[in-house]
């Protein structure tokens, strides 16, 4: 042992090669150690929820730079790195992401792209929102301007994803979530889009509500064109549903008795309130025109065309204003067709017969109130009567044989009288018209069948 001590005084020369070895070793292994420790630190962070994580190693010291989303997440991340074997010191450069209030998330759609902006609480929720947007908007450019921030209201993800889903229904517009309140503006992509969005918003998570919804829908358009040359009535646009569709086409068939109804209607939700009534009224007005176009767009009705005579034009203008449901506006550009050339009584009679062969004047059941579907026919009958001014005309009412004959007689008289009154309103001189009732005395067909009875219930015009 003494020898060991005495020789230790001579150990120093080896220090010089040792120092050289040390320098070479440091040169060689420092980069390896640094990259190994950085990799270990990265692995240790594993499931920690951080953003903008950067790990820099200098020797055995690690500088951890990251945005954390809670104080606990931040300290546990630092602790995880500190626990990595081999790491000497951790320089903690983590910070909490800023807390914002109010917490705003915005989805904006314009012609070319959809921009997601505002705040999201976690990288995962940000990714979910972007994935949801991609799923809804296949092929549309999505611009991500979401910034991570703390302070999101509860169930933010569910609410925000639901809103992202709605952007697909907008052609352009903006959806903003401010804390718990949703506001929407813009134009729906298609009819019914507005209603679909409103329905979807009812599924917002508890605590969320709609502050403002001013999404507009494309106009709900219904169009009818009466073409006397082709003798067609062309219907285009939308109706609320299939039942309304069938009813409308059937009513059009009754009102436009001499035209073929060409039906290009499609069913769609989003009809304004009172749509069916308004369209029925407006179609009635159109049926009185010789040629005309009806355009119903949302709650405005625009009717253009030629009435058969002056009184009809005035009645159409006044009637539309009165009969349309509340909140509807009407614009009627009605001109009057030039009066037909005068003809003699025989031709007049022939014209009456032609008209009445196509249809007949309809009344409400067991009453002398003229059905609205017959106004077009009455106008044509009046116009025909005007063409033979030197004749007198007998308006003859007939009924079927059902019921009491005395009542039938009275009914036929009242019905004939009602028609005559209508004609006088149209401007025909009262002295030219006589109303007669024949009850069921002059049947045209057997009263044993429904079809025969229908044929017997009629108004005849006889020129004298």
């Amino acid at each position: 042992m003494r020898g060991l001590y005495s020789s230790s005084g001579k150990w120093w020369p080896g220090v010089i090669p040792l120092l050289i070895l040390w320098i070479v070793a440091a040169w060689n292994i420092t980069p390896q150690v640094e990259s190994e420790l950085a990799a270990r630190a990265d692995a240790a962070l594993g499931t920690s929820v951080l953003d903008k994580t950067r790990i820099a190693a200098a020797g055995r010291d690690i500088t951890l730079t990251a945005d954390a989303f809670s104080e606990q997440g931040r300290s546990s991340a630092v602790a995880a790195v500190e626990a990595v074997p081999g790491i000497r010191l951790v320089r903690d450069r983590t910070r909490l992401v800023p807390e914002v209030s109010p917490y705003v998330f915005t989805i904006q759609r314009d012609v070319v792209r959809v921009t997601l902006s505002g705040s999201a609480p976690l990288p995962a929720s940000k990714a979910r929102l972007i994935d949801a947007a991609r799923a809804v908007l296949k092929g549309v450019d999505i611009s991500d301007r979401i910034v991570l921030a703390r302070g999101a209201p509860q169930r933010f993800d569910a609410a925000a994803v639901l809103l992202v889903d709605q952007i697909g229904r907008l052609k352009e517009g903006k959806i903003t979530l401010t804390d718990n309140a949703v506001s929407l503006s813009g134009m729906a992509r298609e009819l019914g889009g507005r209603e679909a969005i409103a329905a979807a918003l009812r599924n917002l998570p508890e605590g969320y509500g709609v502050a403002e919804n001013v999404v507009e829908a494309p106009p709900y358009v219904f169009q009818a064109v009466k073409d006397p040359v082709a003798s067609t009535l062309t219907l285009t646009g939308y109706v609320p549903d299939n039942a309304a569709h069938a009813a409308l086409v059937e009513a059009a068939g009754r009102k436009f008795f001499s035209e073929k109804v060409v039906d290009h209607l499609g069913a769609s939700i989003g009809a304004p309130q009172g749509f069916s009534d308004a369209v029925a009224t407006a179609l009635g007005a159109l049926s009185r025109l010789s040629t005309g176009t009806l355009v119903v767009s949302d709650r405005s009705v625009h009717l253009t065309g030629d009435a058969l005579f002056d009184a009809a034009a005035n009645q159409i203008r006044g009637g539309l204003n009165k009969e349309l449901p509340q909140g509807w506006t009407v614009k009627a550009d009605i001109s009057v067709k030039p009066a037909g050339s005068p003809v003699d009584g025989t031709v007049c009679q022939q014209l009456f017969n032609e008209l009445l062969a196509k249809t007949t004047v309809r009344f409400d059941s067991a009453s002398a109130t003229i059905d609205k579907d017959s106004v077009g026919l009455l106008d044509r009958l009046a116009q025909t009567a005007m063409r033979c001014p030197n004749t007198s005309i007998e308006v003859a009412g007939h009924t079927d044989a059902d019921g009491d004959e005395a009542r039938n007689q009275a009914l036929s008289e009242r019905r004939a009288k009602a028609v005559v009154d209508e004609m006088i309103k149209d401007g025909l001189p009262p002295e030219r018209l006589q109303a007669y009732g024949y009850g069921s005395k002059i049947p045209l067909a057997s009263n044993d069948t429904e079809a025969g009875k229908a044929k017997n219930r009629r108004i005849d015009f006889v020129v004298r």
């Binding site: 060991l4 230790s8 001579k10 150990w11 040390w22 200098a58 055995r60 081999g86 000497r88």
Partner: protein, 98 residues
């Protein structure tokens, strides 16, 4: 430091060998001894360096290099001690034989 043993065990063996060589030679070497003051100075410097290392006062890469130096120095000293002791053992056996 032990967790990174894989990276520098080769270099430690190198330091150990240098130490072994120095210790082996030192027994029969006739050169000057390290003076008492020199030894105290070296001891003092090493003590300060160990203090710095344990207190983790040197940051980043220099800190790592300091640790590395101390570990290699320790290996060197062990090498010296083993080398000297072995050489003594060999020399004293030869002397006894002759």
């Amino acid at each position: 430091m032990m967790a990174l043993f894989d990276f520098y065990w080769g270099w430690l063996v190198g330091a150990l060998l240098i130490g072994f060589g120095s210790g082996w030679i030192s027994v029969v070497h006739r050169g000057p001894d390290l003076s008492r003051n020199g030894a105290l100075g070296v001891g003092g410097i090493v003590a300060v360096l160990i203090g710095l290392s344990l207190a983790r006062l040197v940051p980043g890469e220099p800190g790592f290099w300091l640790d590395l130096l101390l570990v290699m120095f320790a290996a060197y000293l062990i090498g010296c001690a083993v080398g000297s002791w072995l050489r003594y053992w060999v020399v004293s056996r030869q002397m006894r034989r002759s």
